[in-house]
């Protein structure tokens, strides 16, 4: 696949700008994976291969890194990803009930995506919002303490978002 089909000129410029922040090419890998995921929603194989070639590192390294970290997704997912914290302070505050509620409400299992492609549901470890337990993240936003009632409202606000 040619570069033109993968990324627009503006996107290529952003890629170059990010890479230029580092003297060590490998160091630009994670920021570039973040960037590609931000514009594409997940890390496709072609995109990862392009980034690796662009940086002059092996493709397998890019793939290894992408699969090592929790926040990189190598498969398509819903438009919004709901991450529910399952660590101690959130569990003490009822995180399991939150997961159960979301499973029912969205009719999916943990790891799944709703039929309309709107939401994916995952469980994560402490997200640094323990003072707002039970806490969740949707995309990059922290919410908490959440209850089934507040969650219904929160989900609705995301339904309207791109």
């Amino acid at each position: 696949m040619s570069v033109q089909e993968l990324f627009s000129d503006a996107e290529l410029k952003s890629i170059q700008e990010i890479a230029s922040r580092y003297e060590e090419p490998g160091s630009a890998l994670m920021p570039l994976l973040h960037y590609v995921q931000q514009i594409r929603g997940y890390l496709g194989e072609d995109e990862m291969a392009f980034i690796a070639d662009f940086l002059g590192i092996t493709r397998v390294r890019a793939y290894e890194v992408a699969t090592y970290y929790t926040l990189y997704y190598t498969k398509p997912r819903g438009r919004h990803t709901i991450q529910v914290c399952r660590n101690l302070s959130c569990t003490l505050a009822g995180a399991e009930g939150i997961v159960d509620f979301l499973k029912k409400e969205l009719e999916i299992e943990v790891g799944g995506t709703t039929a309309d492609g709107m939401f994916s549901l995952v469980e994560v470890e402490c997200i640094g919002s323990c003072d707002k337990a039970p806490a969740i993240m949707i995309d990059g936003d922290h919410h908490g303490p959440v209850t089934p009632e507040s969650l219904r409202e929160i989900l609705n606000t995301y339904r309207g978002k791109p």
């Binding site: 922040r21 580092y22 060590e24 090419p25 490998g26 160091s27 630009a28 890998l29 994670m30 920021p31 994976l33 973040h34 590192i57 390294r61 290894e64 890194v65 090592y68 970290y69 929790t70 926040l71 990189y72 399952r86 660590n87 101690l88 302070s89 569990t91 003490l92 505050a93 943990v110 790891g111 469980e123 994560v124 470890e125 402490c126 997200i127 640094g128 919002s129 323990c130 003072d131 707002k132 337990a133 993240m137 990059g140 936003d141 922290h142």
Partner: protein, 427 residues
């Protein structure tokens, strides 16, 4: 004990992230003082005198680390700020990142002056995208005003900072794994020695310091090491940001002197939630052994907590009340470590999965008393043979709950199988 307003003094101000607010409230005065009135050796000396010990968890003396780094003359040299804040229960660095980013930048610039470093990186956890943007904006502001960049304030110091986002791996908070990650590899721990001060980022000398440690530095430079050393426990002094969560009325970040008794921290956080009785605390996050009610008057500092067999870590205090299930709590923490083990060494990788399974069996009502001995035995092996601090600390939750709350384990062992079993959950 009343709350301190040192590290948090700007956090409540309107527009606290802006450089003008910072400048109007003593901002960049310490950097100016260091560059205009002090030598790098004098700065290091004040930090040594302050007795500041690393706030990231390990508690290593910051002044000593800087002395080692200054002795290595290989260039370029780096300052890496550890803003990974991954220890469960920790959310204190976030207060600085979100509300007082320039304090961190100033601390890093002073560190660069003190050890003759050329470039800085802030490795910030992936779950803090908003804070990462705040930092990037702050770096830009500081560059525009000449507090970062070439020849800072007309001095010989040229230093600026790149903000680098992590992607959700707890082990990347460990300094050598963090460096691996910064280089764009899977973040797995490296063997130490060599220590980062001699061979860190790109195998070059690198000082890794926590956000809070670096943010203490401007105060030390402005007010003197002796002033800092006069706050709290004289052996390991200073102001400390405590993250307190769990069964208290007002969970949050509180700035108190090192050595404040646990009881007073709980009171500062509004007391126990709904007036319930205190049962236990993990004073240093998931990695620490639990404290029980008999230890509630212990001072929260490196030495006092070590003396009772636990640790301060990052100051992440998780409170459990009389209704909490200690076996379930230990299981949740074990599941966390099992999930986060980087897989490099066998005791940690295999041992933790085994511990988790035995714990799950107990929760399901399938446990036996022999399982408790088995658990202690596996834990001992993990602790003795692990490569990095993750493995070492991972089993403290299990061993301490078995020792202090054995009765709760026996209740599970001698009871009918429970309906809601934890083992059905995905890891």
């Amino acid at each position: 004990m009343s709350e301190l307003k040192i590290l948090t003094k700007r956090a409540g101000l309107p527009d606290s992230v802006k450089i003008d607010t910072y400048l109007a409230n003593d901002g960049y005065k310490a950097l100016t003082k260091a560059l205009k009135e002090m030598t790098p050796a004098q700065v290091r000396d004040e930090v040594l005198k302050s007795k500041l010990r690393g706030r990231g968890g390990a508690g290593f003396a910051t002044g000593m680390k800087w002395d080692f780094a200054s002795k290595n003359t290989t260039k370029p040299k780096f300052i890496v700020c550890n803003a990974d804040e991954g220890e469960p229960g920790t959310f204190k660095d976030r207060v600085i990142l979100k509300f007082d980013p320039h304090a961190l930048l100033e601390g890093m610039a002073i560190a660069a002056f003190a050890v003759d470093a050329d470039h800085g990186y802030i490795y910030i956890r992936g779950e803090y995208p908003e804070e990462a943007q705040i930092l990037m904006d702050a770096v830009k502001e500081a560059e525009e005003r000449g507090y970062l960049g070439k020849n800072i304030l007309g001095s010989d110091l040229s230093f600026t900072i790149t903000v680098h986002r992590g992607a959700g791996a707890y082990v990347c908070g460990e300094e050598t794994a963090l460096i691996e990650s910064l280089e764009g590899s899977r973040g797995q721990s490296r063997i130490r020695p060599p220590f980062p001060v001699n061979s860190g980022y790109r195998k070059l000398p690198t000082v890794v310091n926590n956000v809070e440690s670096l943010s203490c530095v401007p105060h030390i430079v402005l007010n003197g090491g002796a002033w800092f050393a006069g706050i709290g426990n004289p052996e390991c002094p200073g102001p400390k940001l405590f993250s307190i969560s769990g069964a208290v009325e007002k969970p949050g970040v509180y700035e108190l002197p090192m050595g404040v008794p646990l009881r007073e921290l709980i009171e500062t956080a509004g007391g126990m939630k709904d007036g319930k009785a205190f049962k236990a605390a993990f004073p240093g996050g998931a990695s620490s052994a639990c404290m029980d009610a008999s230890e509630i008057d212990t001072g929260l500092d490196f030495n006092s907590l070590a003396a009772i067999g636990t640790m301060l870590g990052s100051g992440a205090v998780m409170i459990l009340d009389e209704t909490a299930d200690m076996v379930k709590a230990a299981y949740v923490l074990t599941r966390f470590f099992d999930h986060e083990s980087c897989g490099k060494c066998t005791p940690c990788r295999e041992g933790l999965t085994w511990v988790k399974q035995v714990m799950a069996g107990i929760l399901e009502g399938k446990g036996t008393e022999e399982d408790l001995d088995l658990l202690l035995d596996i834990c001992e092996q993990i602790q003795g043979a692990s490569f990095c601090g993750l493995g070492d600390a991972s089993v403290n939750c299990v061993t301490s709950t078995i020792r202090k709350f054995r009765g709760e384990y026996l209740n599970y062992i001698n009871k009918e199988p429970r309906v809601r079993a934890a083992s059905g959950e995905k890891s």
